[in-house]
């Protein structure tokens, strides 16, 4: 780990629990990671693993109650966001940390023009600014995210724009106050594949130009490989593997990560291969236990896995995984092909 001054966001042992009628849902249960300046970190995992709750916890956007954060520090430039009050948090949101949401269709207010909404994002943090100045900034921001003819498009309502254009507007809104960290919560999930590539390229270009840090939340491993320098794989509220991105793809250490990589559709070496699946489902967040939470679905599961919780262990090159059976040289947990199993049965 390099100098601490380089670290922009340092999340330590963050826990976010929801107190519901069905019990306590430990959606995020003690995760730690950091993001350096100008770095892109990806948070990957299945639906329901706590990725989005993590991002909302960092922004403190969860309604409390029912959510509670019983422990954890969210150090942003040395300041603990978890201890800030609502007013202080308001001045952080948008100005220092901005967020891009999954569905641009619904992330824009239908009754205002997109220009109004970008300008408002600016005015929120620059209350003394003149309307003219805000409008100029808006047009400039729209131009920077690649919207042609931005003076005219600024007067359009969200429903007049395509999904990709709307996501560009959302990015312009996020960037207009010059934040240092952008949290992108599945920014391309709702878009067409061709538009996805454009949006990712735009994000990467803006990130490089402005030396932004990016927390990319996604379940798309292709996006991760494309964008992120480091990757955290989440499962059931925990980070179970954490490493430089290239390493995750080359040498996945956790059985779950290996399963994820095998479950990607694709053509390998010109031949189609049977899509493999990880059997079972993520357990409900109210039923998480203090053991390896992947154990019901893991091919390597032993009694140890059902009894004790594995810690994140460093296997070299900042590559860490939380599994009782992982070895530094790597193991292939899924060697037994599911197809072979079927034939057997």
């Amino acid at each position: 780990m390099s100098q601490s001054s380089d670290v922009l966001l340092d999340v330590q042992d963050l826990r976010t629990h929801f107190y519901t009628d069905a019990g306590i849902a430990r959606a995020v249960d003690g995760i730690s990671f950091d993001i350096k300046r100008g770095e892109c970190v990806a948070l990957v995992g299945e639906s329901g693993c706590g990725k989005s709750v993590t991002s909302l916890s960092i922004m403190r956007l969860l309604a409390m109650p029912p959510a509670r954060m019983p422990s954890g520090k969210i150090l942003f430039k040395g300041r603990d966001l978890a201890r800030l009050n609502e007013n202080e948090m308001c001045s952080v949101r948008g100005k220092e940390i901005a967020m891009i949401f999954q569905e641009p269709q619904s992330a824009l207010n239908p009754v205002f023009t997109v220009g109004d909404q970008i300008a408002e994002a600016f005015m929120t943090h620059h209350p003394q600014a003149k309307a003219k100045e805000a409008w100029d900034k808006t047009i400039e921001a729209m131009r920077q995210v690649g919207i042609p003819d931005s003076e005219r498009r600024a007067l359009d309502y969200p429903h007049q724009l395509s999904g990709g254009m709307k996501q560009r507007i959302c990015i312009a809104m996020a960037l207009i106050c010059g934040p240092e960290l952008i949290i992108a919560d599945e920014p391309t999930t709702a878009l067409d594949v061709t538009i996805q590539a454009q949006i990712l390229e735009l994000l990467r270009k803006l990130q490089k130009e402005r030396h932004l840090s990016l927390l990319l939340i996604t379940h798309d491993l292709g996006v991760v490989a494309e964008m992120a320098e480091r990757t955290c794989v989440m499962y059931a509220g925990k980070i179970i593997e954490q490493s430089p991105t290239a390493d995750v793809f080359r040498r996945p250490l956790h059985p779950y990560t290996q399963g994820l990589l095998r479950a990607r559709p694709g053509i390998v070496g010109g031949t189609k291969h049977r899509l493999s699946v990880i059997p079972g489902m993520v357990p409900a967040a109210t039923r998480f236990e203090d053991n390896c939470r992947f154990n019901p679905r893991c091919p390597l599961c032993t009694q140890e896995c059902k009894d004790k919780e594995p810690a994140l262990v460093d296997y070299g090159d900042h590559h860490r995984a939380a599994c009782w059976h992982t070895k530094a040289e790597g193991i292939d947990a899924w060697r037994v092909e599911p197809i072979a199993k079927e034939q057997h049965a």
Binding site: G94, F101, N109, G146, R153, G164, I195, E201
Partner: protein, 414 residues
Amino acid sequence: MMADGTLIAPEIAPLETAPKGYWDLVRGQFFKNRVAAVSVVIILLLFLVAAWAPLIANGKPFVWRQAGITTYPLLRYLVVPTPGASIDYLFNYVLFATITVPIALGFAYFLTRSVAGAFRKKYKRAVGYGLLLAIVPFLFAPKYRLDGSDYPRKVTELDAANGEYAVFPPVGQDPITPTRQILKGPSGDHILGTDKDGRDVFARMIHGARISLSVGFVAEFIAIFVGVVFGALAGYYRGWLDITVMRFIEMVICFPSFFLILTIVAFIEPEKRSIFHIMLVMGITGWTGIARMVRGEFLKLADQDFVQSARALGCSSTRLMFRHILPNAMGPVLVSAAFGVAGAILTESGLSYLGFGAPPPTPTWGEMISQGKEHLEEAWWLIVFPGLSIFVSVTIYNLAGEGLRDAMDPKMRS
């Protein structure tokens, strides 16, 4: 890629004829419905009649020339406050505004007709100047009292051969001052007859429109204000605040509001009683339905992504509530307001009929019917015409409300 390396969204830009905003859609749909469109036109006409009442029906002439002196009694009547008729004073501002604003707008258009983009800004400024001009006559209004001359009778004294003349409004009859023409039927002089004090029924009806229309609007405006605040707080913060507000609303709903209004108004001494008290009481009893509706909309909208995204940009709760959520919740509120105005007009007529309305000489439709019921057999016109105007105005408000409701319903859109 552009020359400076900026990525351009290669998606095809929307067509020039792309649909407009939500309200443009609603407006288009609304005016497709003929009945609703006609209703709105009639409402606007009624409002114009109400605002211009003194210019349409007045016993005072625009110009009066007698014995070599020219006076303008009507102009003085407009700017000198009539005691006990505060609503008239308010409407006279509107009257001047309806004259000065179009003139100001015309000038703005004339001056900027060659500057395409600047028009929007000038347009707003022109409205401002127009409103400012409308206030000027009142600021410099002469402080002396109105003259009480009975011009419609004095007009026979004028000698046309000496160059003496008078210019009267279309209905040259005073709505307030009693005359000796008691209970005359409809005729050339009095189109809709006269009442028991010899006042022209048509003139009184035109002036009565001021009360009836403004009561509906002001009462409903107060109701919307109170309802939106309570509903927004309950729907946004939820929890104990929501429970408290909703139980309070249930209590308020349990009051029979008409009798509550009667009781409260009855406690105000008749000399002190003014139409504003009635508006206020009607407003603070009529907000519950709107509050419930706004609460429901807020419960639904507060979970929407755009609210979350506005919060992620650092908007405070107040800003979220009133700038981001409220505009999205106003549709149903406007529909219910249209029906509410109709209800308020009826309530006011009922109060006036029972003698708890605006204090006497002020003409209102309900009060006219109330007086007319004593002469039902000999003077049918006293009841029929004000009754018709109540019926028509309530009906068109309901039709307009229905049209608005249909226009906002996406399932009705063709």
